[in-house]
């Protein structure tokens, strides 16, 4: 008897795993204290995982994947967020996976951090606006503040006084990274 081969038909997906309800519903004490991962976020080398703190069941709605309200402690790209996060609206995504207790150490021992990203404090205006401002104020090289709202998810920061930014945000096409230098061959 030949081995059974599963052949998938239809659209492919990047998700891999189960919906959150499928995972928690079967666990003793709703899996409080267990570690979860989103497979989508495993593309980052830094550890991304969540630990279940609280589970609230939500009624099933006909014709929809069942959702569940789960409060987790989230570690995102090596940084544990100070406040617990509630997962509800994304709980239907079949992308969650439960980490076996013996494999949790793999995530906990991963101490990689995101490289420091420092945004410049001020950048130049887009060309037309710059011309207008030059005409109005007479300033030869007007600069505007960079808009950046710091959240727990963001690990970049704005350069302090006298600090050298690591990212160039100029209006010109700045130097591409090593990986994609090939795209600009003969152009730059």
């Amino acid at each position: 008897m030949s081995q059974k081969v599963i052949q998938y038909i239809g659209r492919t997906t990047d998700f891999r795993g189960n919906t959150l309800w499928e995972l928690v519903a079967n666990l003793p004490n709703w899996g409080v204290g267990r570690m979860l991962i989103r497979n989508m976020f495993q593309r980052y080398p830094e550890p991304c995982f969540m630990r279940i703190l609280k589970v609230q069941a939500v009624d099933e709605k006909p014709g929809e994947e069942r959702k569940v309200r789960v409060t987790v402690e989230k570690t995102w790209r090596g940084v544990t967020q100070p406040k617990p996060v509630e997962i509800y609206s994304t709980s239907y995504k079949a992308d969650y996976e439960l980490v076996p207790v013996e494999e949790e150490q793999k995530f906990l021992k991963n101490t990689k951090k995101v490289g420091e990203v420092i945004l410049p404090n001020k950048i130049e205006f887009p060309p037309l606006l710059r011309e207008y401002i030059r005409e109005e104020t007479g300033e030869s090289n007007p600069l505007m503040n960079v808009h950046f709202k710091k959240t727990y998810n963001k690990q970049a920061r704005i350069a302090a006084e006298g600090e050298q930014p690591t990212v160039q945000l100029g209006m010109s096409l700045s130097k591409p990274p090593e990986v994609s230098a090939k795209l600009y061959e003969g152009l730059l």
């Binding site: 659209r11 950048i123 503040n145 808009h147 591409p176 990986v179 994609s180 795209l183």
Partner: protein, 229 residues
């Protein structure tokens, strides 16, 4: 686009007419594509759209460019927002701006004007209140006088009544003069009877004959008896 396709479609149609074949080519192409509200065509039902893979270099470069673009756009929007607020706060196009001294002066002028109005109204009110007070006083005085007169009249009437009663009381029959009164009443019988003739003349007395003559003695006797009865 639509017109071009119609032309394209009609051209073979013309030739088809010329060649005498069917007019299938004149079929009207109204829509370039299936309207959104129609279900998936039968022929496309099981088609699986291909998901194109980006190469790593493309992905990295596009991500970088997008990040830069979005940050720049956010920064520009923030700049414009701040600029608008700044302009609204500082510009005097749609409103007049005063210095603090001017504002104070305007306020003082308003106060003075208000005080002047108040004074005029107060003077008017004084006059009116005075007039009203006097009117009230006169009215009260009038009413008091009228009341006095009324009271006096009432007393006068009462006195009059008392006097009349006292007058009358003299003729009352009391225990002392009861006998005398009875005697008098018996002595002077009152005859209220009367007769009347066709001429309307009244003849007082029970027995009075027409013409005013005394009735006969028997009649008088009978009359007396009747009266005593």
């Amino acid at each position: 686009m639509l017109r071009a396709s119609c032309q394209l479609l009609s051209q073979p149609g013309v030739s088809a007419v010329k060649t005498g074949s069917t007019n299938f080519a004149l079929e009207f192409v109204r829509w370039r594509r299936k309207p959104r509200w129609l279900p998936v065509a039968k022929s496309k039902k099981f088609r699986v759209p291909e998901r194109k893979k980006q190469t790593e270099e493309e992905r990295v470069e596009l991500l970088r460019l997008h990040n830069i673009y979005k940050t720049q756009l956010r920064s520009v929007r923030q700049y414009l927002r701040e600029e608008t607020v700044r302009q609204q706060e500082t510009s005097t196009i749609d409103h007049i701006v005063f210095t603090p001294e001017q504002e104070e002066a305007a306020f003082q002028r308003c106060l003075e004007e208000n005080a002047a109005w108040n004074a005029t109204i107060a003077a008017e009110r004084e006059v009116r209140l005075k007039r009203e007070r006097e009117e009230k006083k006169a009215y009260v005085q009038e009413r008091l006088e009228a009341a006095l007169i009324r009271e006096e009249e009432r007393k006068e009437q009462a006195n009059e009544k008392v006097r009349r009663e006292k007058e009358l009381a003299k003729t009352f029959i009391s225990r002392e003069n009861l006998d005398v009164a009875i005697e008098t009443a018996l002595a002077n019988p009152v005859d209220y009877n009367f007769s009347i003739d066709l001429g309307g003349n009244i003849y007082r007395g029970r027995g009075t004959l027409p013409g005013g003559s005394e009735p006969p003695a028997e009649a008088q006797q009978q009359q007396k008896q009747a009266a005593s009865n």
